[in-house]
Structure formats: C-alpha cells, structure tokens
Symmetry: D2
Subunit: 279 residues, 4 copies
C-alpha cells in the first residue's frame, strides 16, 4: 500500500538565481504484519498521509539534488525509522522544466516545460537487503525516415505483411537501468550520457544513419551501446512502442505516392521489450 | 514483443437480433531464439502484423462466445502453430456495450456504452506448462458516504492525520483472479457473480451497510467474500485506489460544515493492493 | 476570466438515507472595467478564489436540488452582489453516481459511477439581460448495427467511398438545449425525457429500428423528436461525432467477411452538428 | 459537418536530407442546402471521406511549405471546386518534430518530438467573403518563480485569499492571432517571432524579470508586446490557464517553509482570456 503522485515543487534560491525541481513521488510499503488486512487492527499501519508528510519534510530539509538521491533518502528514512516496514519502494518522476533563455542568456527565474523524454527513477529495499537504485527515461518519441526495414521474417498462411527495406521507424521509448551497488554516482551526468547514447544508437551517424533490420535489433543495439559506454549501468531494460507509418496507396486517386504521404497507424501498435545485463 | 490494442467488433446475427462484442486484444510472445536481437536475423520472427491477422481470423471463424474463451483460443493457436514460441500471453478487454431497452423492451440492434466496470481477461502459457486463465474487472468506481473510518493507526512526529470514525470511502477498484486448471467454466456467470460479490462486500447490507475500519480491511473482506462464494477462483488480486474526500473547513466563511460539502483530493491518492489465494 | 473545474460533493442526509451530488463548476465573469488589464489596477477584480468560495457557500446553504437550479443560483448571486459584473456564465457537470442496488433493494449510502451520458448545464446573463438556462447531455455513446446507410451523395474525382445501404452507425453524442424564459421547470423530469427521446429517435422501434440515410438526417430526426415531445425546449443543438466501422476485407486471408469482423476507425472521425429552434 | 483529426506525415527529400511535416487536419463545411437534414437527400453532400481524400491529395501535390499555406490551399480548393459550399473552415496542428543533433551536427533523417508549444492555424471563408487566416500556439507551459503578486483586489465576506507580492506564476498558454488580408506572409518567421515575444513579455529581462501584478496584466502585456513588434498581426487572443502553487504550511510538522516546498493546485484552476485588436 502507499501514496501515489505526491506532486510538489522544490524551489532553491542562490541570490537572484532560482532553481526548480517539480516532482511526482510514489511511495509504497509492505509491512511485516497482516493484522490490518485480517482484523482491521491498524496499530502498525503508517497512514499514507504520513508518507506524504515524510516526503515533503525530507524535500524541505535535504532539498532534491537529484531525484535519484532523493529516492535513496526516502528509502533509507522508512527503513531506519519504522521497524514494521518489510519493504519500501519509491518512484519519482521529474517535470521537464528547463530554464528559459533570451538571446542565449539564461533567465534567473523563468522556466519552460519541454517534455522531450521524462526522467524518472526508482529505489527499493527489502529489510536486510541492499538498496537498489534504477534510473530511467520515458515518453521519448523518436523517428527516422529511412534506414529501416523488415525482411526475411517467418511466413505462413496468415502473413500479409510485405517485406520492406525502406520504411519509417517511429516509436516511443521507455528505458530503465539499474545501478547495482549504490556508491556516489553523478546521477545527472550519467542520465545525460545515457540519453545521448540512446539518441546516437537510434539514429546512427548524422550524415548517413545506420540501417535497422528490425525493432528487435535496434532495441538491442541501443542496450549494447549504453552498456559499452556507461560502466555504472548493470542491467538495462528497453521498451519500444512503435507507430507504423503506412504509405498511402493513392492509385485510386490517380497519383503515385513515392513515400511522400504516410498515415500513422496508432492502433494497433507493436511493442518490443528486452532486458539485458552484464555477464 | 507483441501487438497491442487490436480493436475490432465481432457482430453476430440471429435473424433480426444482433449481438456485439467489441474487444481490444494484446498478444505478446517470447521466442526460443535470440538471433533477432543479436544478429538481426528475422527468420523465426512472427511479425506483429501476422499476430493481428491471426486474432482477426480466429474471431471470424470461432466468434467470441466470451473474451476468456477467445483468449484461450488465441493462446492455443500460437502454441500449437509455431514451435519457436516459448511463451504466449493474451490480454483482452471488452467495450461495455449494453443492449438498449425502450420501455423495458430490448432493442434488436441498438446498443449503448455503459462503462461501469470494464471486463478483461488474460491467458498465458509457457511451452510445456499449463494454460492459465485470469478474469478481471477494472475502472469500477464505488463510493459509500458513511460506515467508514480510520483509527488507532501508528503515529509519530510526522503524523498529522486526525482519527476519523465517519468518513467517505471512495475508490476505483481493480480486481483480477485466476481460474486454476482450465475446464469448461461458465465465464459469463462467474464474472457476474464476482461483480455482485464485490459490490455486496464493499457496500454491506442495503439498509445499514457495514463498517470499514480501513481500506486494507475492505480489500480483504471483498477478497474473502469472493473466495467463499465462487469456488472456481483460485487466487484473487485486488487494488483499491482511493480518492479522499476532505470535509471543507468553512469557519472562515462563517459556516459550520457538517460533512455537507466535501472536496475530492485526486492527487496524491492512496493505493492498497493485496493478493489472496486458497490454502 | 474565471475559475474552472471547482469539484466538490454535496452530501444530503435524510435519516439513514444519503443523497449525493458531485459536481464540477466553472464560473466566468466579464467586468465593466479594463483597468486591470491595462494598468494592473485590481480594485474591481473579484479573485477566482472568491468565486470558488461563493460556489461552495451557495452549495452549503442551498444544496443542489438540480444542477440547473444551482447554476441559476450562482448566476443570480454574482449579478445581484457585484455591480462591476457585466456578464456571468456558469457551467456545471454532474458526476454520474447512481445508487447501488442489491437484489433490487436500493442501498442507503452506497453508490456506483455509471458514465453513460454526462448531464451538464449552463446559465448565463448579461447585465440588464435575461437569465438563459441550457441543459445538456454529453459523452453518450450509441451504436446501431444495421438500418443505416449512405447513398446518392455528391461524387467527383476525389470520391472513393462506395455507396452503402447497410452499415454500422456509431457515435458519441453531444446535445444542448435552451429553456427560454426561466420559470419553475422540473429539470430532472425534462432531462430524463429528453434522454429517452434521443435514444428512441436514434434507435427506432425495438423490434425493427428505423432506417437512417445519413448522419445528418439522424441528427435532424433526434432534434425534431425532442422539439415535438418536450415543449420546454426552445433551441436544440446536436453534435454527433461518428466512429466509422470498416468491414475488414479478409480475402487475402482466404475468408469471406459477411460484416462479421469490423474495425473501428477512430481517426479521422466525421462530425455532424446542427442547431434547430422553434419558429 | 466535417472530418476531424486527419493525421498524416508529409515527407520531403532533398538528396539524403529529409524534411518532415506531421499534421492533424480538421475540415468543416456548411452547405447552401438543408435537404440532407430534412429529407435525407444526399445529392449535394460531399462525404467526409472525400474531404479526407482532398486533404491528402493536396498534401501530395503541393507539399506543406507551412501549415498556414496548406490551410489556405485547402480552403481555396473547397470554395472553387464545390459551388454548394457556403462556408469552409480548416484547422491544422503540427506535430512538434525537431531534427536530431549529435554534437551540434544536424542529422539527415532522424527526428525527436519536442512538445514545448504546439503550432496550429486556422483558415476560414464564407462564399463571397475574404479568406481569413489565423496563426496560433497552444500547450505552452511557462513558469516564473518570483516577480509576481496579486494585491489590492476587491474584497467582501467571501474573500479568504491573502494579498501576496511574491508568488509563483505558472500557466498554460493558448494564443491565436489573425493575419487580416492574406498576402505573402513568411509564416515561419512570424510564428517564431511571436513565440519569442510571448516568452520575453512573460519572463521579462533575463537578469531581473519584470513584476506582474496579476494574470490579467501579464496577458495584456504579452498582447501589447506582440502587437508592437509584429505588424502583420491584426487581432490577438490569449488564454492563460494558471496553476496555483500553494506554499505548504509546515508549522504542524515543526518546520518553517520559506517558499521552498510548494504544492501545485491543478483543480480548480483560474483562467484569464482577452482579445485585443488594433485601432
């Protein structure tokens, strides 16, 4: 049980310069008891309202240097404060506020929301177990308009999909990775590096791209690239929900459509997920 | 990998009387191979487009007597047709069309959407494993305006919630149960019975209700009641996402608010989940 | 300017029997002044926070017999209390709570959300003008699986739609009507009657239905039927957003699909709107 | 009547470099006739399916240099092709694809979705009337963490809002402007300039900002600034839906909250709209 979507803004000021972190926190606990379910005995139950208070108090006292560090703080607080807690899990996502710039000059206190990939994290711990931290990015929509195909697949009497060696590849990406043993990571730096790795592995070189023979291979290539470039990542999970773009047949309208007009097919949509760890 | 939200309507006619099932199907497979991820070798990959075709062909050939039976049909088809499939999972939800009635008379071909609890199911199977079927209901919003409280809970310096013995209990319910070994169940009958059990256990007797000392106890009571009344259910999972209704303090407006005006607090919201099986 | 989505529950008790109205209120004003825009002079500005307080106070004091009556109360309050108000408009929609029934017996304090058509209303008034009240229903999803066609339409070189005399007609309906001079209407009774008229005009007789030659004609038929049956309605506006169901061509899958499997086309969707008044 | 959300991607290639415009088009017509409503006579009705075809054909033939130009093309086509059209209105919004950059280098065919303000436009024309074009931006979320207050407002017994001279100003902005007589505008250039004007007028100077005494004044300042800087704009409409950030009282948690932890209040939300033209 727990409290979901505890939303708040943590404002930090350094003179006239302001820094904002707006977050959404979910905190879930499992207790060592069952009496609250079986007998309605609430004596060990920490109200979800108290969970909310704790999150807000920690934000006020510690600030939010990174959402990952804040998730660790919350986990530790629950484990050390309440001996009836058997398991704690914290999820945090960050609102994508970016500092406004005017003619290249950063504004001291104005921000704009730029939701091009949402940063989130998780931290969880069982009593007597290690504290595990996950980083992540979601709602990242990417497209490449060529250098993608799908051929040589399995066929039977229910196959109607034609082979294609030049199609649009477009999808929404969800990526989550674990940090293994928690030391003093530079979470901001790692997150930015992983985001860059994802974009680079998805798109290929700026002048020519790189051919993708399937969603599966692209998913794997991104994972391999991140693992090779970012040593702190232990396990990486990737989900690619792909929107298919159908080249509209315009023959009955008297036109030849040379992949100029394409219709996005939002439902049904394909999905490809893979989890990859180090040996 | 798989195909999500394959939406279609299956129309069945008996003379002038029409019957509709509009469904949304998600089909996911895990193959025995890894070469499609590692090498871009697609030779064993069943395109998600083919999955969609198979779902539509089965719907056309077999009809959809119940979504549970249809999920079983799809699972079996993938397992028996494709030896490269290691695991198959099917999720189906049903659009809540109900036959229109005019002055009590059922209409032969007109329907209205009544989304008061969405019926869904899952079926999954590993190669050489049993086919497991789940039934479920989701998006069921219930409220009781008294006979609910929360007292005697754990308190410390972060507790600000007052004890209450008369509050509103309101939440959105998600319930999923497994059927164990799949025999010839009457899925329609069981689903309706479980829905009734949920409503009855939530609300209590029509003339007086039943006191709920916590969300946890209510969740457990519903589960126990379903298990006691419906022998086909093996394991039952329940999630109650609760909306808190805050009695507005109107003193600064010169009024005493005797639980007449209440403000729903949609974020953050509490959540309580429990899974219960038979011994 | 104004306040949107003021959500609250008004609970009314008669002994053990409870009655609920959960509403969402939007209140908008236009002032006689422009100085707040031009000079930042707020001296005539009624804060949107005060608007919210007023709505809650009126709900507490008067209750909500019907949302229409409550909208009228709010309008009148703003017009009579604030001489700087040039125009007021109130929109209210009602959460679709229905009393739970167990074996036909109504429950004293338990409710279920049944969103099969949302009731809403508007009231507006200009200073020195009449108070105009509108009733409405929205998000009403209806379907008929035959007795609908579309033939004889205008054709040119861009027409690819075939003529059809047996298709599915499915849509989401928005309907809003004005009551003209505001007397003591029985708003509950009228709203229910109009809802029934809409269903009846849409569906036709229960045993055979009625043929619809176009969305336009169906929209008009519903309007004419309401105007003929409900004398209090002065003007009626209707919008029908239709979802097209495409009969899937299964020839390439070796099957003949006799309108058994249909794919809903959610985007793009057609829309048909018409406003009709009395002479 | 018309067709809504006609979604498609227009791909344009110059050698290896690709350019994308993904749009959502809504096309609405009013005909000179009423017989389709009254008699079910469809002879003058242009099917919404044909409207969709026309939009796609024009995209294929003309491309989409800008959405504004494309809206004009569609309007003109309907007016000149169909003499039964009395009025045509076209709405287009553009998906926020931006070219990917790797280490500052633009990618030839990879794109990322960056929804920080959606560009849209409208064009409408009555038979024998002028073609009017509107540009717009919506879903633009902005925040400033100081230099905002609200004081000196009208007070009575329902006022509980305290005066504040240092609050957060945060809102979602909708802006739409008309271009007057349609000549050869550089729509891209103007749109970008207006967006910059909005940001600058909202935020003030980068090093100190500018004090906002109310949402009304900020709305007006933005409008005045756009009108002064962009001569092509005739009339400008602005709606600011503001999210209030409540400074959490943490006294009962033993803490003094110096505007460090703030809770966004998403419902109810205030709204402020104003339309301003040139003399």
């Amino acid at each position: 049980y727990g409290k979901n979507t505890i939303k708040f803004l943590r404002l930090h000021r350094e003179g006239k310069k302001h820094f904002v972190k707006e977050v959404e926190v979910c905190t879930h606990l499992r207790l060592i008891s069952a009496q609250e379910y079986l007998e309605g005995n609430n004596s060990l139950v920490i109200p979800t309202d108290t969970m909310k208070n704790i999150v807000l108090v920690l934000a006020k006292k510690n600030g939010i240097p990174t959402i990952e560090q804040f998730a660790i703080d919350i986990c530790k607080h629950f484990m050390t404060t309440f001996c009836q807690v058997a398991y704690v899990k914290v999820y945090i996502q960050e609102a994508p506020w970016q500092r406004l710039h005017e003619n290249g000059k950063p504004h001291v206190h104005a921000f704009i929301s730029v939701p091009d990939g949402i940063r989130f994290c998780e931290a969880e711990q069982c009593r007597n177990g290690p504290l595990v931290v996950f980083g992540g990015i979601k709602d990242l929509k990417l497209m490449k308009t060529t250098q993608s195909g799908f051929e040589g697949f399995y066929k039977n009497e229910h196959t109607t999909l034609p082979e294609r060696n030049d199609r649009i590849l477009c999808g929404e990406l969800f990526c989550k990775w674990s940090y293994g043993e928690c030391k003093d990571f530079d979470f901001d730096c790692i997150w930015n590096k992983i985001r860059e790795c994802i974009l680079e592995a998805f798109a290929g070189a700026p002048d020519c791209g790189e051919y993708s023979p399937s969603y599966q291979k692209t998913v794997n290539s991104i994972q391999m690239f991140v693992l090779s470039k970012v040593s702190q990542v232990q396990v990486i999970e990737l989900i690619l929900n792909n929107v298919f773009y159908n080249v509209l047949d315009m023959k009955n309208l008297g036109l030849i459509n040379d992949k100029e007009v394409l219709i996005p097919v939002e439902t049904p949509y394909g999905s490809c997920a893979c989890t990859l760890g180090r040996k």
